[in-house]
């Protein structure tokens, strides 16, 4: 079934770029270029996710979000904003958005986050009782905190363990560097240089070092993906 996404964005260049990108990924995208139309579409409730620009003519993005949530619509919403500061992101998240992305952003980042949100919405949060995560021949025991690749135990640092846990919980999905920084280190600032890359490459050495199948893939221009397939 085709997943439907509503894009509320007043800048037509940005909108075209997002619509094109999402359509290529197989999503059906409706575009509203102002807050009122956006709210009108959103209240249909048939969307799988909503991408909402924060600054909109007519009706501010935050007001639209407020109205959507007040109407009892739980469709995941990701906010796009040129206001990058932490305060604004906190304001957005407390107003009921599920994620927050600062303009300018890479399309891959938006796509990765959208997919994550929609998956979370359909499967619900990862159940807490799950104690073993697996991916191909990689196995992670959350209780004993042991990791095995093809039955062979791997020695991971605590942070490497958490990094891998994040990747395994999002296996077969593209996760971006920012998502990793937020999910594993709980920081929203830009550490600059390739700080995250170095962490991933170390983890990759331990996981994929001498295995036949590569599990940690670099996704060009986007981030990383954990999975057996190419």
């Amino acid at each position: 079934m085709t997943q439907k996404i509503l894009l509320v964005e007043d800048d037509n260049t940005t909108a075209d770029f997002i619509v094109k990108g999402l359509s290529e990924q197989g999503f059906a995208v409706d575009h509203a270029n102002n807050g009122r139309d956006g709210l009108f579409h959103a209240t249909d409730g048939t969307y799988d996710a909503i991408v909402l620009d924060r600054m909109l003519p007519g009706m501010d993005g935050m007001a639209v979000l407020g109205a959507i949530r007040a109407a009892g619509i739980t469709t995941p919403v990701i906010i796009l904003s040129a206001l990058g500061a932490v305060e604004d992101r906190v304001a957005g998240l407390t107003a009921g958005s599920d994620d927050y992305l600062t303009k300018p952003f890479a399309f891959a980042e938006l796509l990765a986050r959208l997919k994550l949100l929609m998956r979370r919405a359909t499967t619900g949060p990862v159940s807490a009782v799950e104690t073993v995560l697996t991916c191909h021949d990689l196995e992670m025991d959350l209780l004993s905190r042991k990791v095995k690749r093809a039955g062979r135990a791997l020695d991971l640092q605590p942070r490497e363990f958490r990094l891998l846990e994040y990747l395994m919980r999002h296996k077969e999905q593209v996760v971006t560097r920012t998502m990793l920084l937020e999910g594993v280190w709980d920081y929203h600032f830009d550490p600059g240089t390739n700080v995250i890359d170095v962490h991933v490459s170390r983890l990759r050495k331990k996981i994929d070092g001498d295995a036949d199948t590569t599990l940690i893939h670099t996704v060009r221009g986007a981030g990383y993906r954990l999975g057996a397939g190419e």
Partner: protein, 448 residues
């Protein structure tokens, strides 16, 4: 003109003038009431004294003695014009200097017009009428015509004084307003000069420390701040223009190269490089924005109490692989705490910037330590690079202030000035010191 009368100046003049007028009127009135009261009291007590003296003489010593005494009293009357009249129970005059008993005379004190013996005109007099035990009646008192004249003179004099006083009061009001206006104008002129671009203008202080002086001092402090901000803004604009020029030029060159590339691989590489250049530019803009926001005090409401030591270890751990890959050693000397109220993201970013700088300009090892002293929590990040000479440290902390040629690194000034801005946001400081060898940067924020 109507406008003027609605102005504060006019209102102030009116107020001062009004107050002076009320004051003068009040004084005159009081003077009048007091004088009149005093005169009346005096007349009353004189009449009472006469009655007390004459009454018993008439009753005990008889008519003749009374007549003699009365004549004596009329003659020698302490500078007053005394009036006395005694009538027997039948109303026949016994002695005195009045032409018969006045029909309108009432018992007790009254002021009426009566004729004295030998006088053709009635005179205003204050009289005290007493009934004696044998049925005869005694009238004593004095002419008060003169007193009346005195109070009329006083009235006229004060009236004249008031008429002369009016312009004086008006003048005083104008003078007071002028003095105040002069100081306010002075402040206004300074403000005008500043808004016209003469940012170094300051309001003159007379050193008295009065309200105007304090106002002027406050304004001067504000002007000081504005001048600092403006000059900083200039530096930022210049710096930004300068710093953005080179990456933008590189971006342009890369895109031009991409246009003429034929094979897909080189094209892709060129585009990737252009993308990296764009990221760097965006990063710089983000940092510049963060600095401005921090300098403006935005984010203070997002402070949370956090363990600084733990946080430093977290961040150090984040950078550790990168540091090792560069072949550096990293020593982290932190304990538990101190707990400080901070903007976690900004402090994180600041520490990250310091580690990043240390990696760029240092050599072989980085040392990070935390501690507390004098009510401040501090973080030291030291490298073993060439350091910064003491006379160039202030320059290094300025936004976009880069130290050529030793620190030609990209946007290095920005990173350090963000740390400074974050420190100031927290009410703290940033200090550059000597790690002997190398640079030691200390970020201090107040303990809570």
């Amino acid at each position: 003109m109507i406008k003027f009368w609605r102005s504060s100046t006019a209102r102030f003049i009116t107020l001062v003038f009004g107050i002076e007028l009320i004051l003068a009127a009040g004084m005159t009135l009081t003077l009048r009431v007091l004088t009149r009261g005093e005169l009346e009291r005096d007349a009353k007590s004189y009449a009472a004294r006469l009655t007390q003296e004459l009454g018993p003489v008439y009753l005990k010593q008889g008519k003749e003695d009374f007549q003699k005494l009365a004549a004596l009293r009329v003659l020698f009357s302490e500078g007053r014009a005394t009036v006395i009249l005694m009538v027997d129970p039948k109303g026949k005059p016994v002695a005195g200097n009045l032409q018969g008993w006045p029909p309108s005379a009432k018992l007790g004190w009254s002021e009426i017009e009566l004729y004295r013996n030998g006088s053709g005109t009635p005179e205003q007099m204050g009289i005290l009428v007493t009934n004696l035990p044998d049925g005869s009646r005694l009238l004593t008192g004095q002419i008060i015509e003169n007193d009346r004249r005195l109070s009329r003179i006083v009235d006229r004099a004060t009236g004249t004084a008031l008429i002369f006083g009016l312009p004086l009061a008006l003048f005083a009001a104008f003078a007071a307003v002028r003095i105040i206006n002069a100081r306010v104008n002075d402040i206004g002129e300074t403000a005008k000069a500043v808004s016209a671009g003469q940012l170094s203008q300051r309001v003159w202080l007379d050193g008295s420390g009065d309200t105007f002086d304090r106002l002027a001092a406050t304004l001067n402090a504000m002007l000081e701040r504005i001048e600092a901000l403006i000059s900083e803004l200039r530096i930022v604009t210049d710096g930004l223009a300068h710093d953005l020029r080179s990456p933008l030029t590189r971006l342009k060159v890369r895109l031009e190269r991409a246009q003429v590339e034929d094979d897909e691989e080189s094209l892709r590489t060129a585009i990737t490089l252009a993308g990296e250049e764009t990221d760097r530019l965006l990063g710089m803009l983000t940092t510049a924005l963060q600095i401005s926001r921090a300098e403006a005090g935005i984010g203070r409401d997002h402070f949370i109490a956090a363990d600084l030591g733990e946080m430093i270890r977290d961040i150090a751990e984040l950078y550790e692989p990168l540091v090792e890959d560069k072949g550096f050693a990293m020593e982290v000397a932190t304990g538990t705490g101190p707990i400080v109220a901070m903007h976690r993201e900004l402090i994180g970013q600041a520490i990250g910037n310091l580690i990043d700088n240390a990696l760029k300009y240092g050599a072989d090892s980085i040392r990070i330590a935390t501690g507390e002293s004098d009510g401040m929590a501090w973080v030291d990040v030291s490298d073993r690079g060439p350091g910064i000479p003491e006379d160039q440290r202030a320059e290094a902390l300025r936004r976009f202030g880069r130290l050529d040629p030793s620190r030609t690194g990209f946007g290095a000034g920005l990173g350090l000035s963000l740390v400074g801005a974050v420190a100031r946001l927290h009410g703290g400081t940033i200090e550059l010191g000597d790690a002997a060898p190398g640079l030691r940067v200390r970020l201090s924020i107040p303990l809570t």
